[in-house]
């Protein structure tokens, strides 16, 4: 099986405004592994804290070997995603709201559980206070 692939995910800014755009790029230096099964790119928010967790995906894009879309994936891949008005990033004591861009790559033979997830966290709020 292929060694763990190298993927870099970079955002143009980590402080975004509601209904603004999240721009960035991800790249597989040297290309994705030959036995890549799928690559997924998503932008999502999730909660963490003491209680039940929640999650919302605002953008999802996938390239798969099974439908021959993998070869068409640009590498590097630039993206610009329109963000929703809410929920705003929040760092509370009982609940936190995280925003992140996420790359997930699965590789190996069918049934293999080999996967790698890379996250790049950013904030969504009307006024940037990093």
């Amino acid at each position: 099986m292929t060694d763990e692939p190298d993927v870099q995910l970079e955002l143009a800014t980590i402080a975004c405004v509601p209904q603004g755009e999240l721009a960035g790029v991800f790249v597989f230096p040297g290309g994705p592994p030959a036995d890549t099964r799928s690559i997924e790119f998503s932008v999502l928010w999730k909660t963490s804290g003491r209680g039940t967790e929640d999650l919302g995906v605002v953008h999802f894009q996938a390239w798969k070997a099974t439908d021959n879309t993998l070869d068409a994936m640009p590498n590097p891949h630039s993206f610009s995603i329109k963000l929703p008005p809410t929920p705003w990033s929040y760092d509370g004591e009982l609940i936190k709201i995280h925003w992140l861009a996420r790359i997930r790559i699965r590789w190996g033979e069918d049934g293999s559980k080999a996967e790698l997830v890379r996250d790049a966290e950013f904030t969504l709020a009307p006024v940037s206070r990093s």
């Binding site: 760092d91 004591e93 936190k96 966290e121 904030t123 709020a125 006024v127 940037s128």
Partner: protein, 200 residues
Amino acid sequence: MSRVGRLPRVNPFSTHFVQPGAIPYQFATPDGLAALARRLEATQGFGEIIGPHGSGKSTLLASLLPALREWQIRHVRLNTTHRRFPNAALRLLGSGWLLAIDGFEQIGPVQRWRVKRHCRRTGCGLLITAHRSMGLPLLHDTRVTPATAANIIRELLPAGSEQTLAGFDVSARLRHHRGSLRDVLFELYDRWEACDSPAA
């Protein structure tokens, strides 16, 4: 400083890291899971996992079920907000099936008797978790020792953040919470927030 728009810091005691299944159940011996599977086989699939609230019964069940490959499993989770036993879960169960009920004491004694009788009559196994014995062969008691609790806490804490535990007596806190490791971890969640807060 406003908490809105701030990059949230990760609390190592948040639900994501401590929910059932997130922390592997810690046995005293390395072959704990395999030994439990063998014991359940020896009792024709009848057994109970007992222990106090928050001591890892659901975590153990979540770890054990995938190891029971000889059985077809129907898993029912009951708790204080979902107390009604789905009678449909009994349909079509028979030999080769294992009914796993997490929180068996949530249903009434008559329903418990019915479930046990149904499983005995049909040859279906019955594996339950409960706070006290429900009259099935004891498979495992999940009472948490202070040493196990300390191990789990150490594994959750990121390197270099041991100061969060300064003056925290794990043994005393475990006693205070009547053996509930979950409540100890909730307390540590709050302690982490207090230590990690910019206002602190």
